[in-house]
Symmetry: C2
Subunit: 379 residues, 2 copies
């Protein structure tokens, strides 16, 4: 047992679950004395006190059991000796977040602000022991500028950043098209695109919104989201409006071309509009399936239009890339937050122990939604 | 007008059409004196007397108007000064074939056996003027070994060869899965795979075949097709049989892995089985859509299984690649025919003028079909 732990007798707390199900049913706040648990002997493990952790859609699906555990499906347990990391025998929810190093560390400074760079370890907890190589160092100022929202930068901003970087040879002046423009990743994507001189056109569902609510959403996506064009999916139903949309897309592209890249988090009918908006040889990247409808590709689109459909799973990228590559991405994203070229989506913060209140608030939000951020410090 | 043409007053003939429709309705045999037409002044144009041209599915779809003209969609007209190539004001059917050079040529030997290496020019004709750069030289022996069947080597064998070469890092000992294993391309693919030490597993439709007919087909695909495994699509309906199929696929792979590559010419339900047979990170290449059903990809297959769906259009490859790359491929395929590691599918030959009889024969074939080859020489 580490002497430091014994002297400073602390309470450890977490949001965890023993079986899969709806978070409101299975997720509960657990608290215990942290010196009854595993004492890591690996000297590369450092102790991190968590500050904030976001509640991303993937975290909900992981608790529900419909989202695969990156730890399990990507073989991460073998590398990270997971048993030594966990104070709990239950599954701890959450997959990213930031905290502060509170133990001595070989290569990192005690007190540094760090993000948990390995997904799937469970971040909705007050503290954890974790290998240095899983930590990404953040500039101290980011906490002041972004507030708690910044803790979701790596999953949200990272997903958007990689999709805009790794799948199509984009140049300033190009245009990209996406659905779910009002999702957190969609908002980050349009801002990151703008910071690279790339225009974003967002397709959003009007759904049951009133005209006022819809106008407010469009205004929000154009201003805060920095989109160049926003269109309702429902307005792309007929060929004529689709042609008009294509003409507008070409107009906002410097080279008068359709997008080479489309980002899909929805599936179904919405994908049809995205594919038709793509230039020959374009790429459709799928990172979510909100509609629960699959991605349907006509054979002529594949063969003659040369459309390529791929998926993007940010957890895979985070596990497979080197620490250097991850740290480089974090540096770029942090810099963009610091110089205000991107702004994290609006959030509301709840302490872990208020789990019921937080989940109830989260399910009863209106048109422009805020992200739920957990405060891991309070007790 | 070239003196040679005037002296040797010849009759030119073609199978051509003035409007799109069913080949039986719109395709007709046309004959004319060939000196009334354009006299090419470009000294790089050479005169080729056609020998054989195959009747590929894409040729039928082009006449029907459901298959885009490579010439039109890939901007080939600008490069090839198409007007000087055509004796006819009608569209000439056919997209590949071989013939013999009958004019003096800068770089090629008069009398050489050559394949038309640029798709979309119309090959169902007795002769054409064509740039040297569109001709691919064939070894003289291939005509003796393959017979007329060899004229379809570039489209069929080329499609199969490129799909096996360009989309996945295949090694000897790997396994590839395909549907339409009994199609002409499917047969070439399994033979080419075998010649590279790669096993092919073919999914075929049992359909309305009797057990005897089905057994005969399987035997044919295993022996002549050199498949390692043949299974009926209908036998992959339930999870248990799919699991058995996956186990068999792993067993015939040296590394005990599922295929990295799947070739799809069908679409619909058949694609579902292919995708489920793929290793994580695998690629589905679509080159046809016989079922007229689209390619459906579940979001989890894209994101978590990292399946990539692309299309392959051999005409695009043939137009976009350099002459050297095309000639290199032809050399490899020719060598494989000469050393009997691949054998072209069985054919039946009809002269152009017997168009009605040929199309009627073609539509009334049985279980193991032969390919229709046009004899462009006879009149």
């Amino acid at each position: 047992m580490r002497p430091a732990l014994c002297k400073e007798r602390r309470w450890y707390h977490e949001l965890s679950y023993a079986s899969h199900g709806e978070p409101t049913d299975v997720l509960s706040f657990q608290t215990t004395s942290d010196d009854v648990n595993h004492d890591p002997t690996d000297e590369n493990l450092v102790h991190v006190k968590m500050i904030h952790s976001p509640w991303n859609p993937a975290d909900i699906n992981t608790v529900q059991g419909t989202y695969p555990s990156p730890a399990k499906s990507l073989g991460i347990k073998d590398n990270l000796s997971a048993e030594s990391l966990y104070f709990s025998d239950r599954w701890v929810a959450g997959s990213e977040g930031w905290g502060r190093i509170t133990s001595d560390s070989k290569n990192l400074r005690k007190g540094s602000l760090v993000a948990i760079g390995t997904p799937g370890l469970g971040t909705l907890r007050s503290s954890l022991w974790i290998p240095e190589s899983s930590l990404l160092v953040l500039s101290e100022e980011i906490l002041g500028i972004s507030g708690p929202a910044g803790c979701s930068l790596i999953q949200l901003g990272g997903t958007a950043f990689r999709m805009l970087s790794d799948f199509a040879p984009l140049q300033p002046g190009d245009v990209v098209v996406q659905n779910a423009g009002n999702s957190a990743v969609g908002l980050m994507a349009s801002q990151i695109a703008a910071s690279k001189g790339i225009s974003m056109a967002s397709v959003v569902r009007r759904g049951s919104r009133s005209q006022d609510e819809y106008d407010e959403l469009v205004e929000y996506l154009l201003s805060k989201g920095k989109n160049s064009l926003v269109i309702a999916e429902e307005d792309l139903d007929d060929k004529e409006s689709l042609r008009r949309f294509q003409a507008e897309l070409k107009q906002i592209s410097v080279s008068n071309e359709l997008p080479k890249l489309a980002l899909n988090a929805v599936g179904g009918a919405s994908v049809k509009a995205l594919i038709r908006s793509l230039e020959n040889g374009g790429t459709l990247v799928t990172y979510g399936g909100m509609s629960a409808q699959p991605v349907v590709l006509g054979t002529p689109q594949l063969i003659f239009k040369d459309i390529r459909a791929v998926g993007y799973w940010h957890s895979r990228w985070m596990i497979q890339q080197s620490h250097e590559q991850k740290q480089e991405m974090v540096n770029i994203l942090s810099k963009a937050v610091l110089d205000k070229s991107i702004e994290c989506p609006p959030v509301k913060v709840f302490p872990l122990k208020n789990v019921e209140e937080a989940l109830h608030w989260q399910s009863s939000q209106g048109s422009i939604r805020k992200k739920l951020i957990w405060d891991c410090q309070e007790i």
